[in-house]
């Protein structure tokens, strides 16, 4: 049974807006209500179609009234901020993430009409450390529990959602643990990171990166909202890349810095609003993280259209390379021709100096 009234939080950001637009285009859904603290941009507003936008803070009990008044039956919680830069600092970020989720869940618990809750979570809940198994399945937990930042918030949020599921067993809860998003339109941590022409990384470490294309992220969210999947699922593209490899494929210049120096670069870049190198982010850049997507493909029933490699290639269309592959090609061809010429000269000289001994000549003929 498709949902009648869907409430999407965090609708002003790209993915939330895209999901609301997708749901609004589905005629079987009666109403789509988008909630965010900031109004969506003009371009986004046009895309949203018949979505009703409610400017509300989910930290405010007003959200309960919205849910009750519209008799919302499906709630998609996407208003989780991954960087302090996006929400004006770490303290407001944590407040929005954790307190906001608690308020939203409290409102959902009171509303008898709610029967489905979809949480956009992250694979960051698995942490990142040297003690990690190479591939995380949904049943595994972080070996070293993330101590702060986005990952800690996400762990707390998942905890509250589990508690909510216990108190309202009649509500179907789907938790989607997304890997890093990438794509031409989405704004994620890695897209900002890869847009820099010179990418500072941790010296002596190389993270394994699993990417998810924005189109696949959108498709999974849509399916989770309208479908009947219950439980936790890892969402990521097939295959992995090493961080250095991804940087090279994008034609960026990698600058490995010793970890302490990287910390100060991170603080500096955060001040200028570039990229966030929080301690938790640094650990991710050191070790990376890969998740198993068997549940996604077999139980959830979706196979991402883009592999990690293909997603990166699609994203690469929008970032002009600093070191273009053609440049490398022509440079290597030039080096080769120069070396070959030098080598030919050397071997000609060598031939002069030391003529190769002739093949064993005629021997005495036995029968002449």
């Amino acid at each position: 049974m498709p949902p009648a009234v869907v409430l999407v939080t965090g609708v002003s950001r790209w993915l939330g807006g895209a999901l609301a637009a997708e749901l609004a285009a589905d005629p079987s859904i009666e109403r789509v209500i988008g909630v965010d603290t900031v109004p969506p941009s003009q371009a986004m507003l046009r895309r949203l179609g018949r979505t009703e936008f409610v400017r509300a803070d989910i930290r405010n009990p007003l959200i309960g009234k919205v849910i009750a008044a519209a008799s919302v039956d499906t709630v998609v919680h996407m208003n989780i901020s991954s960087t302090p830069a996006g929400s004006g600092g770490r303290v407001p970020m944590k407040e929005l993430n954790v307190i906001g989720t608690m308020q939203l869940l409290a409102a959902c618990q009171r509303a008898p009409t709610v029967r489905r809750f979809v949480l956009k979570s992250t694979s960051a809940v698995y942490g990142a450390s040297s003690r990690d198994p190479a591939v995380f399945t949904e049943a595994m937990q972080a070996r070293r529990v993330p101590s702060g930042g986005f990952a800690k918030d996400s762990l707390d949020i998942e905890g509250y959602v589990r508690a909510f599921a216990r108190r309202r067993p009649d509500v179907d809860v789907a938790v989607l643990r997304f890997t890093n998003f990438i794509g031409p339109r989405i704004d994620s941590l890695l897209t900002g990171f890869f847009r820099m022409p010179v990418v500072p990384t941790a010296l002596g470490y190389d993270a394994r990166v699993q990417l998810l294309h924005e189109d696949d992220a959108l498709a999974v969210l849509t399916r989770a909202t309208t479908g009947s999947f219950v439980g936790t699922v890892n969402v990521g593209g097939q295959g992995t890349l090493l961080l250095s490899q991804a940087i090279r494929r994008l034609g960026r210049v990698e600058v490995p810095l010793p970890t302490p120096a990287l910390g100060s670069v991170g603080r500096l870049s955060r001040r200028f609003g570039f990229v966030d190198y929080s301690p938790e982010q640094m650990r991710f850049l050191n070790f990376g993280r890969v998740v198993d997507t068997t549940v996604l493909r077999e139980e959830f029933g979706y196979t991402p259209r883009y592999t990690t490699e293909a997603a990166l290639t699609d994203y690469a269309r929008t970032v002009p390379p600093v070191v273009s592959p053609r440049l490398v090609e022509s440079a290597s061809a030039r080096v080769r021709s120069v070396l070959e010429r030098a080598g030919d000269t050397a071997s000609a000289v060598g031939e002069r100096l030391r003529p190769t001994p002739p093949a064993p000549g005629l021997r005495a003929v036995r029968d002449a």
Partner: protein, 302 residues
């Protein structure tokens, strides 16, 4: 000229002259090297979810290790027919030598000497992956963390997995205890083999004990650095970086008959007594073949 006769310059019984097969010319090697560099610069190579980079391993890391394998340690391999050519198997070996050179040499042995050119996927301690450079290079060479999840994932994918159950107890033991096996961990490797039903191939490595004879252990300094031991050898730290040159001992690597585990069924991993017994069986086999290999070797350096 009807009276003309054909005079054979080369009688049939003489071996025809065959010019020696030319070694890959420098042009080919240069082209290969440049192609490798180009691939590295543009990122056009494959890596797997464990961080294994076959391109780097084949074209850079193995060629660096090969002279050490062939010329320095003159490694001889025995019983390669005991390592299956396809499918998963767990190679269990003794660990020694202060620095895990034995793990690298076993990797080269299985890649170069085995007819199927098998890749050994090693399992390492978390300390290895915590260290910069070493950790990332180990992953690129195909290693991963020694935990049941990773071991079972690799074995189900049909990979050849190498494990050193003695861990730091084996590699950091004093020289006077050479060739005596330490405790074999908690038998985690046996449960991994039982759950995936792959054979266990016992492997004995002789020669690694003598490369850096550990005569002392700077325990306090090791604790300060967070290391399990800090080796003192006859040449290190006395000769500084020169002390890092391993002694050129003669090496023998022998693979024993595989111990089959599939018949026990995956449920057998829950039977601790069976796990203990199998662990002991593997340990005994390796200890036994170590003694045999030591008898075969005429002297440490020949």
């Amino acid at each position: 000229m009807p009276e003309a006769r054909v005079i054979q310059l080369r009688p049939d019984d003489d071996e025809p002259y065959v010019p020696p097969a030319p070694a890959p010319g420098w042009e080919d090697r240069l082209a290969g090297g440049l192609e490798f560099l180009r691939r590295r610069l543009t990122g056009e190579y494959e890596t797997d979810e464990f961080g294994f980079d076959p391109d780097l391993t084949d074209h850079l890391l193995l060629p660096i290790l090969r002279p050490l394998f062939q010329k320095w340690f003159r490694v001889e391999t025995q019983g390669l027919e005991n390592v299956p050519s396809t499918g998963g198997a767990l190679v269990v070996a003794n660990h020694s030598g202060t620095i895990p050179v034995d793990a690298m040499m076993t990797t080269v042995a299985l890649h170069d000497d085995h007819p199927a050119r098998r890749r050994l996927r090693l399992l390492g301690a978390d300390l290895v992956f915590d260290m910069p450079v070493i950790g990332s290079l180990s992953r690129k060479m195909g290693s991963t963390l020694a935990c049941n999840e990773d071991a079972e994932r690799l074995l189900t994918e049909g990979e050849l997995v190498g494990v050193f159950p003695e861990g730091f107890k084996g590699i950091g033991k004093p020289f006077r205890e050479r060739y005596t096996l330490q405790r074999f961990g908690r038998g985690g490797f046996v449960t991994a083999a039982l759950r995936t039903g792959v054979p266990i191939v016992p492997c004995a490595i002789v020669g690694a004990e003598e490369i850096y004879p550990l005569i002392g252990n700077a325990k306090t300094a090791a604790r300060l650095l967070g290391l399990p031991y800090l080796p003192i050898t006859p040449t290190f730290p006395l000769l500084g970086p020169l002390g890092l040159v391993p002694l050129p001992s003669k090496w023998l690597i022998a693979f024993g008959e595989p111990i089959e585990t599939a018949s026990y069924g995956p449920g057998a991993a829950e039977d601790p007594m069976l796990v203990f017994n199998l662990t002991d069986q593997v340990r005994e086999t390796i200890q036994h073949s170590l003694y045999q290999l030591l008898l075969q070797r005429r002297s440490v350096f020949s």
